[in-house]
Symmetry: D2
Subunit: 306 residues, 4 copies
Amino acid sequence: MKKGVMRPGHIQIRVLDMDEALKHYRDVMGLIEVDRQGDKAFLKAWTEVDKYSIILREADEAGMDFFSFKVVDEATLDSLRQDLINYGLQVTDKPAGDLPDCGRRVQFDLPTGHTIELFATKEQTGKWGVSNRNPEAWPLKLSGMRINRFDHCLLYGDDIDGVLDIFENVLGFKLAEEAVEPDGNKIALFLTCSMKEHDIAFIRQPMKDKFHHVSFILDSWDDVLKAADIISMTDTPIDIGPTRHGLTHGETIYFFDPSGNRNEVFCGGSYTYPDHPTITWDAEQLGKAVFYHARELNERFLTVVT
Amino acid sequence: MKKGVMRPGHIQIRVLDMDEALKHYRDVMGLIEVDRQGDKAFLKAWTEVDKYSIILREADEAGMDFFSFKVVDEATLDSLRQDLINYGLQVTDKPAGDLPDCGRRVQFDLPTGHTIELFATKEQTGKWGVSNRNPEAWPLKLSGMRINRFDHCLLYGDDIDGVLDIFENVLGFKLAEEAVEPDGNKIALFLTCSMKEHDIAFIRQPMKDKFHHVSFILDSWDDVLKAADIISMTDTPIDIGPTRHGLTHGETIYFFDPSGNRNEVFCGGSYTYPDHPTITWDAEQLGKAVFYHARELNERFLTVVT
Amino acid sequence: MKKGVMRPGHIQIRVLDMDEALKHYRDVMGLIEVDRQGDKAFLKAWTEVDKYSIILREADEAGMDFFSFKVVDEATLDSLRQDLINYGLQVTDKPAGDLPDCGRRVQFDLPTGHTIELFATKEQTGKWGVSNRNPEAWPLKLSGMRINRFDHCLLYGDDIDGVLDIFENVLGFKLAEEAVEPDGNKIALFLTCSMKEHDIAFIRQPMKDKFHHVSFILDSWDDVLKAADIISMTDTPIDIGPTRHGLTHGETIYFFDPSGNRNEVFCGGSYTYPDHPTITWDAEQLGKAVFYHARELNERFLTVVT
Amino acid sequence: MKKGVMRPGHIQIRVLDMDEALKHYRDVMGLIEVDRQGDKAFLKAWTEVDKYSIILREADEAGMDFFSFKVVDEATLDSLRQDLINYGLQVTDKPAGDLPDCGRRVQFDLPTGHTIELFATKEQTGKWGVSNRNPEAWPLKLSGMRINRFDHCLLYGDDIDGVLDIFENVLGFKLAEEAVEPDGNKIALFLTCSMKEHDIAFIRQPMKDKFHHVSFILDSWDDVLKAADIISMTDTPIDIGPTRHGLTHGETIYFFDPSGNRNEVFCGGSYTYPDHPTITWDAEQLGKAVFYHARELNERFLTVVT
């Protein structure tokens, strides 16, 4: 949080059919639906203090509209906005209320074509189902996969060197982990503004603005198993897992929403501090870096991208 | 245990190189080596009271020599021997001491070509590392995958109807689970002489005397994860997992020893009693029956058989 | 199952207020209510194939009315009935239908004053929420503590030597574990008719017909934690745990129903076979034998007995 | 990390007998001994990148000498040093090398009498047993309790309002959780410079400079169970657990080193961000706040303090 970017604040995901999408995100995964306006639904996971973190937008094509970070305060938002402009990026100002119960947002596009936002203010409705006073360990009414928190996303794009420069030098992120080719060319970036091994990640692919997955953290490896069971019981398409990643060492499952957007639920994994060296994975070990147990990529890893 | 067959007593597995095999079964998996004689090594898991359960024999070809059940006493061994003969099977009597510290064994071949044994007596050295008096929860020196117990094997062969008849009607086993084709033809048998969902299992394939895997039970899903990690750390070839089976609902990993014999470590799973109906899986659901999360067989499931 | 006794079939527990009791056993613990007749409610856990296993009876005093074992068939029930009579016990025949959907029961009293029953027939409604054909891993609608199965009870009484003689020599049980005083006097019996370390247990106390706890098995140590959390969230009185027992090595919590009857949920633990020696705990280690981590009894262990 | 304090860097603990202490911290708990100099031993947990985090000093009395935070760089150390002086605190400068392989340290005393340090530089030997390049998930040689990381300490003292003022206003910490009396008087402070619910904690007691416990984080609730088992197997005095805390919601065991210093191993628990409101526990719920399952303090919680 060197420059005041706190955490992933929300993501807007395009879904082909809102009813089907809600059956998935709300009923199967167990996210809490907190609002519905026009073509959008707003959801959150129970430990989040802000009103929402997941925006589903009904559209003709799956994928991600934008990914937003919450910064510590409005003054920080001003200064980061100016830093982005000084860097040469074009920013778009979205006024307060453009998203419900959310303050103004500063949007800009990465060299990979992805739209990123910063904002400082959102209505705080508090953790769902527990109080700030003598809180219980978790809400008794928790259902589905018992998702703890919206965690990060992984994006595919071409100019990830340009992305790295912006995240490191403008937004104050750290490169926690990377995958590199023998010539030093980076092919994967795991970027953090916190102790988490990734708040956002990129893999180099010859494409613009592609969305690999949105990820949610669970409490335990036992919850990963139960999530995998729920995936099977509900005929939800699975991609891979349960398994562990090499990169970050988190324990994971990949699966798909009804529109073809990839989701991840995971637990555990490494942590980082500013003085920790970047962890490097060699490209020839990419199979193990991504799927630590199978030690090879599955075909879908590179081909199903919305 | 309707007719006095208690449990899997030992299995003799052929390995191509004993040193490599011991690195795998003893050092990586953590089984305890208790004896070595000639071309054979003898191992056990820590909760087993008998001296050994795994016999590795150095040979030119991988696979299984025989699978043996321990029966409650010598009188039961006599009567089961006679029942086998009455059924029309040819039995071979192996004298006490033919296997070290093991009483006489009654061998016979199944219609699938597999050699099965019965025996009643083996030296009881007790659980490894804990006493029968005020026992600790587990031995502090436990290492590797922390394997609890030798559990079962899965065999491939043609005439599994013949196999079922012998196990049910001569040996007093129960068909706990099965997979069936639309015409009722059985293609998988999970047979038990206990509360366990399988003490031995068969899958119908047009081949004789093939060995699919030997299986060991772990204490927890957490130990399954650590076993998968150890598999990766030691460059042990993995087949699939961590995942859950549909059949038996156990939580599992398949991997290979250096000779190509498939191993399983698993935990959990269902239980059965004599009055429980047989659980049936339809052939068209075989993918889910075998690998509950992926819901499809991997190619190796049918092709790598030693 | 040497003489055909399969498993604990049901227990009848006295509760002071049925509504409060159902809030506890059904809503907090998550047992399934399957019937209500007169002053009784009938419940089961989801993996049980018989219609019910827990009978709650509204009464003026908490405690246990009787504990019943299911035997393999009616012929076995006949022969065990005769064996009990031959042993000198007075049996009471309860006709089919005396308990709803249950066949005839043979009741007798132990020297400790506890009433035990045998029966062979009860309506089989199958596992709750899953099919016998292509069964899912668990029912999606499972709630509360996710209890897998009714498992055993622990009773307090004086003449446990007399109890042991009946269970071993008439009913074919095995003494899996015991606690003994220096003079060899047995003070705790863990008796099994299966691979489980106990289907019923007794502790010697100078009293007649006392009920210490009824126990239910969970799938995992993670479920033990969640059960403990639920106990706190619902203001359910806890006794001790999460912890491990020395005896049986199961991982456990003790708590109380609204009438003061002690309940246990646990997971894991050892297994036994007929050729396993009895595990012995010395009386001076009773603290560790009962509560393996604290290594001392809490005061309630001996004083709260209904 | 508002003002550049990163994390707990090391703690110096007094032990009565170094050999006994090392048997405990190294052999039982599994910390890695990295150096021994004079009357001190230096240890670390495997994921830590700095050379050591635990200093054991042989002395006549148990307790804590000092607790040190690592800051992001030397310039930050300079400015925090000046801030402490400006606040009116007396600082003691310890030169580089005063602790082996550690840069200069700035020491000061809290109003509770505890000695706190800041430092920016320590030799980085990297994670133990894994590489920064294609790292395995954990070191195969990991032993004992499989401790992941030195995490925090809890201290007892009188003027915790004074402590809070320094941590919040000079060092940039956040009050993540607190316990308060009905009049608003704070009796417990859980202070963080990160996403962790506590990097250091205080409980108000009418005493100076008392040490309640040093805490280490484990990977999972399963590791908490195994740690509790190890505590019993090695006759290590236990205080309480396994259980969960209300404050922070971590899953925990308290136990004692041979000198009477209390240790904690725990896993899980909540996280915090700068915009999260402080979690408040009411004094009348202190039992549940500390031991969530038992919902009452044990006697030792207030009496055994070194």
